[in-house]
C-alpha cells in the first residue's frame, strides 16, 4: 500500500497547513471563505508555488513547479474556475497535453475519439465531442473539467468545488464515478461547501480556518455542528446573540424593494427590502451572486427578470450614472478597478463623485475642489501626505476611506458597498464602520456585502444570506448569531430543536 502524504506550510494564504490522503480515500477539504482551501489545491496542481513547507508523495519529498510536474507525479486537478480553453473543442480540451500519439509525431485521431467518447459515456455527458467548450452549459463545462482530470488516470485527484454548477442528478453521476475511482485506489481530495456531499462521498475531512488546518476527522464520527464549530472556531449556540444592530427596522420608510430579481447564471431569485436608516448586510460564500446582484441594482449589468422598486417607484437603471443621479452611491472592494483613479490626486479623487453630477463643461474652480476635499479628509480621518499626492500613495485602508468619503460627501439616499473592507487594516475598517453607522443614524440606507461573517455581525442590522443565487436566510435581532449565519451560509436551515438540516433545493 502506497502512502501519499503531503505537508506544506506557506506564509500568505496558508499558515502551516498540512494534509494527508491515502490511496482509495476520499478526503473532504472544508473551510469558510479565504481559509486557504483553493490555495492548497493550486499548490498541489502546480499553479501556485508555496513559500515553504514540503510535499511528500510515497514518503519522498517532491517539488511541483508547473502543471507539467503535477501531471508527471500523477496529480489530476479539476479547478473551481475551470481550466478549459473556451475556444477549443471538448475533445481537444480533454486530451490537451496528453494526446495519444500515432506515427510521425501526429496525434492519433481515431484513438482520441475512442478515448473521449468512452470518457463522455462514463460521465454520461451528452455533447458533441467536437463542440466548442464556450457553447456548452456551465454544468456541462464542469463535467468536462472533471472528465479532463480523470482522463489522466491520476493517482491523486483534486476536485475544487466542481459541483457548484451541477444539477442534482449530475452530482450523483459524478459520485458514481468517484466511487469507482476510489475502488481502483485513487486518492481524492474533494473541496466543497455543500455539507451533505461531504457526508455522502467523503471518508475523512480536513477542516481549515484562516490558512491553518484545525481538525482532521472521520466523516462518520462527526456531526454537522462539530464541523461548523471547527470552521468558525465557536461552540454552536454557546454564545449570546450579538447586539451590534438595532431591531426596530420596518418602522422607517421603505427605500429599496427588490422582487425576484434574476441575472443568469449567478443570480437566480433574490427578493429583499431595505428601510431608511438601517444597515443591511449581504452575506454568503464567495460566488453566490452578491457582486452580480449589486451591479444589477446599479445598472452595470442588466438583470433578466424581476422588479426593483426604489423610493416607491419602479426603476431600471441603464448605467451607474443613472443610479448616481437618483442619489445612489456605490463603493467597491475592487479599489483599483472600480473606485480609484490611482494616478490622480487625492482631492480629484474625492471630488470625482461630485464632478459626475452637473454639466460636463461647468468650470470647476480649483479652490472649490480643494476645500471640498480638505473638509472630507478631515471629517473622515484620512491620513494623507498632501491633497496633491496621487491616490495610490495612500495605504489600502486610506484609499478605501477616500472612496467612502467621496460618496458620503454627496449624501446619497442609498449607499451600496461591495466587500468594502477587502484588504483593509483593522483600524481603517473600524473607522469605516463608525462612519457608516453614523450615516445610518442620520437617515442614510446602507447596504453592505461582505464575505466576512464577523464584519456583518458587527455592523449590519439585518443580514440577508445568499446561497446559489437565492436568499437562504434573513437574520435579525436574536437570530443574528455567528453559528446561525454560518449555517445559512452553508445553505442549511435549522429546525425547532436547533439541529442542522440541509436546506431545500440545495
Amino acid at each position: 500500500m502506497r502512502d501519499i502524504d503531503k505537508r506544506y506550510d506557506a506564509v500568505v494564504a496558508c499558515r502551516g497547513a498540512s494534509l494527508q490522503v491515502q490511496p482509495g480515500e476520499v478526503r473532504a477539504l472544508l473551510g469558510s471563505n479565504g481559509s486557504g482551501k483553493s490555495t492548497m489545491v493550486k499548490i498541489l496542481a502546480g499553479t501556485v508555488k508555496p513559500n515553504g513547507g514540503q510535499i511528500l508523495i510515497d514518503g519522498r519529498p517532491v517539488t511541483i513547479n508547473s502543471g507539467e510536474d503535477a501531471r508527471r507525479l500523477g496529480i489530476g486537478t479539476a479547478f473551481q474556475d475551470l481550466s478549459l480553453i473556451p475556444t477549443m473543442t471538448v475533445i481537444d480540451n480533454i486530451l490537451l497535453g496528453n494526446e495519444p500519439m500515432g506515427r510521425w509525431g501526429m496525434v492519433d485521431r481515431r484513438q482520441s475519439f475512442a478515448d473521449v467518447e468512452a470518457l463522455l459515456d462514463r460521465f454520461q455527458i451528452g455533447c458533441d465531442p467536437e463542440a466548442y467548450v464556450q457553447t456548452l452549459m456551465p454544468s456541462l463545462q464542469s463535467m468536462v473539467e472533471v472528465a479532463k482530470a480523470v482522463y489522466l488516470k491520476p493517482r491523486l485527484l483534486l476536485l475544487d468545488e466542481v459541483t457548484a454548477a451541477l444539477h442534482r442528478d449530475e452530482v450523483q453521476l459524478l459520485f458514481d464515478v468517484l466511487r469507482e475511482l476510489k475502488a481502483q485506489g485513487t486518492a481524492i481530495i474533494y473541496v466543497t461547501h455543500r455539507m451533505h456531499e461531504t457526508f455522502e462521498i467523503c471518508d475523512t475531512a480536513t477542516i481549515m480556518r484562516s490558512g491553518a488546518t484545525v481538525a482532521d476527522v472521520k466523516t462518520d464520527e462527526v456531526t454537522l455542528d462539530e464541523i461548523v464549530y471547527h470552521m468558525t472556531g465557536r461552540q454552536p449556540e454557546a454564545e449570546e446573540a450579538h447586539d451590534g444592530g438595532r431591531i426596530d427596522h420596518g418602522k422607517g420608510d421603505l427605500v429599496l424593494e427588490v422582487e425576484h430579481i434574476a441575472l443568469y447564471p449567478k443570480v437566480r431569485d433574490i427578493s429583499l427590502r431595505a428601510y431608511k436608516g438601517e444597515i443591511v448586510g449581504i452575506g454568503g460564500l464567495e460566488g453566490q451572486g452578491q457582486p452580480e446582484f449589486i451591479r444589477a441594482l446599479l445598472g452595470v449589468m442588466r438583470h433578466n427578470d424581476g422588479v426593483i422598486r426604489y423610493l416607491g417607484q419602479e426603476v431600471d437603471f441603464h448605467s451607474p450614472a443613472d443610479a448616481v443621479n437618483h442619489n445612489i452611491g456605490f463603493i467597491s472592494g475592487e479599489r483599483n478597478r472600480e473606485a480609484m483613479f490611482p494616478n490622480r490626486s487625492v482631492s480629484e479623487n474625492i471630488f470625482a463623485g461630485r464632478a459626475a453630477r452637473g454639466r460636463l463643461f461647468t468650470y470647476l474652480a480649483p479652490k472649490v475642489v480643494r476645500d471640498f476635499a480638505k473638509a472630507a479628509v478631515e471629517e473622515y480621518n484620512i491620513v494623507v501626505g498632501s491633497l496633491k499626492h496621487p491616490a495610490n500613495s495612500l495605504s489600502g485602508g486610506n484609499q478605501q476611506k477616500l472612496a467612502v468619503a467621496r460618496w458620503l460627501a454627496m449624501n446619497p439616499t442609498l449607499l451600496l458597498l461591495d466587500d468594502p473592507t477587502k484588504g483593509v487594516d483593522i483600524h481603517s475598517r473600524r473607522e469605516i464602520h463608525r462612519i457608516l453607522r453614523q450615516c445610518a443614524d442620520e437617515g442614510m440606507t446602507v447596504m453592505i456585502s461582505s464575505s466576512e461573517n464577523e464584519e456583518l455581525l458587527e455592523i449590519a442590522d439585518r443580514i440577508y444570506v445568499f446561497y446559489e443565487g437565492r436568499v437562504s436566510g434573513m437574520l435579525a435581532g436574536t437570530n443574528k448569531t455567528p453559528e446561525r449565519l454560518a449555517a445559512a451560509i452553508m445553505g442549511m436551515k435549522r429546525d425547532q430543536n436547533g439541529v442542522a438540516r440541509e436546506a431545500v433545493g440545495a
Binding site: T47, I85, L96, G105
Partner: protein, 349 residues
C-alpha cells in the same frame, strides 16, 4: 446525406466560416464584373496568384502568431530583409541564388526569434515591440543594401511566372506547400498547444504546457512562411529594394481579422487565406469595375486613387462586419444560456 448535413453544420460553426462567406461573396462579384471567361483564363489566374502571393503568404505567416495570442507587425519589412539578404548574398559572394534564399530564410528566423524574445520572454506588448522592430529591421536592410539594386537570373522569375502543366500557376505551389505543412502541424501536439496558449495561457500552463516554448514554435513557423513570402517577393520584383513591403504587415493583419482570426485561440490558416483572398479580389474587382465604367461612360476619367478609396472602404466595411457577426454570436450564446437556465428551473419545480 446525413453526414453531409453534419459536416455542413460543423463547417458553419467553424471559425473559417465567416471568412469563407466573405470570400465567396467577393469571388462571385469579381467573376461577374470581370466576366467568367476572362476571370477563369489561366493567364488572368496566374497574374492574380503571382502578383499577390507575397501578401497571401504574409497573411498565412501571421496566422499562427494570432492563434498563439501574439503578433508581429514588422513582418512586412521582414520580407524586404529576406529580399535584400538573398540578392546581396548571391551578388557579393558570387554564389547561387539558392544559397541567397537559404540565408534569407535564416535571417527571417533570426528576426522572428528576436521578436519572440521581446514579446514572450520580456513580455513587451507585442504590437509596440514589433512596431519598434520595423525601424530596426529597416535600418539593417539599408545597411545591407543602401539603394535598390541587383537582379534575379531570368530562369528564376520565368519559372515563378510560369504555369505548371499549362494551368497551375507556379506561385500557387508555394501556397500548397504551406498548407501541406500546416495540415501536418495541426495533427501534432503543436496544433493543439497553440490554440490552448492563445485561448488561455494560464490554463494551458496548468495543463502542463509551456506557453513561451509554444509561442517560440509559432514564431519559427511564422519565420519560415515569411521567408517564403520574401522569396516570392524577390521572384516577383526580380530585384532588391531595402524599403519595400512595409505596409504588408498591417494589411496582412487586417486580412487575418476579416478572415475571422481572433486575437488568441480562434481561427485557422484557412481563415487567413480567405481574408487575404478577400483583400486581393476586392482590389481586382474594383479595378475591373472602373475599367467597365471607362468603357460605358464616354469621357469618364478619374485618378487611380479613387479605386484605392473604393476598395479600402469596402475592406473597412468587411472589418466592421466581423465585429457585428462576433457580437451577434455572443448575444445568441448568452440568450441560449438564459433560456436553458429557465428551462432547468422549471424542471426543478
Amino acid at each position: 446525406m446525413i453526414d453531409v448535413k453534419r459536416a455542413l453544420s460543423r463547417f458553419r460553426r467553424s471559425p473559417a466560416f465567416a471568412g469563407f462567406t466573405l470570400f465567396v461573396f467577393v469571388l462571385i462579384l469579381n467573376v461577374v464584373v470581370q466576366g467568367p471567361g476572362q476571370f477563369f483564363s489561366s493567364r488572368s489566374l496566374n497574374t492574380l496568384f503571382s502578383k499577390n502571393m507575397p501578401l497571401i503568404l504574409t497573411t498565412l505567416a501571421l496566422s499562427p502568431l494570432l492563434i498563439a495570442g501574439t503578433l508581429d507587425i514588422s513582418i512586412g519589412i521582414q520580407l524586404a530583409l529576406v529580399n535584400v539578404v538573398s540578392i546581396m548574398v548571391a551578388q557579393e559572394w558570387g554564389v547561387s541564388l539558392y544559397i541567397g534564399f537559404l540565408m534569407g530564410l535564416l535571417a527571417s528566423l533570426t528576426v522572428s526569434a528576436v521578436c519572440w524574445y521581446l514579446v514572450s520572454i520580456l513580455r513587451l506588448p507585442s504590437i509596440l515591440a514589433s512596431y519598434a522592430l520595423i525601424y530596426v529591421v529597416r535600418g539593417v536592410n539599408v545597411l545591407i543594401m543602401d539603394k535598390p539594386q541587383g537582379q534575379v537570373p531570368a530562369v528564376f522569375y520565368k519559372t515563378y511566372d510560369s504555369l505548371i502543366g499549362g494551368f497551375l500557376p507556379f506561385s500557387a505551389l508555394m501556397l500548397v506547400l504551406v498548407f501541406a505543412i500546416w495540415a501536418y502541424l495541426m495533427r501534432t501536439k503543436f496544433g493543439r498547444n497553440i490554440y490552448a496558449v492563445g485561448g488561455n495561457p494560464r490554463n494551458a500552463f496548468a495543463a502542463g504546457i509551456n506557453p513561451a516554448w509554444v509561442q517560440f514554435q509559432a514564431f519559427m513557423v511564422k519565420g519560415f512562411i515569411a521567408a517564403l513570402a520574401g522569396i516570392a517577393l524577390t521572384l516577383m520584383t526580380a530585384s532588391g529594394n531595402p524599403l519595400q513591403a512595409e505596409a504588408y504587415g498591417l494589411r496582412a493583419l487586417s486580412a487575418c481579422i476579416i478572415g475571422g482570426l481572433g486575437f488568441g485561440g480562434w481561427g485557422s490558416m484557412s481563415s487567413a487565406f480567405f481574408g487575404a483572398g478577400f483583400l486581393v479580389l476586392i482590389q481586382n474587382t474594383v479595378y475591373y469595375f472602373f475599367n467597365f465604367l471607362y468603357r460605358i461612360i464616354p469621357g469618364f476619367t478619374v485618378t487611380s486613387y479613387w479605386q484605392n478609396l473604393v476598395s479600402d472602404v469596402i475592406i473597412f466595411l468587411g472589418l466592421l462586419m466581423t465585429i457585428v457577426t462576433a457580437k451577434e454570436q455572443r448575444e445568441a450564446l448568452k440568450q441560449g444560456f438564459v433560456e436553458q437556465f429557465k428551462g432547468g428551473e422549471r424542471d426543478d419545480k
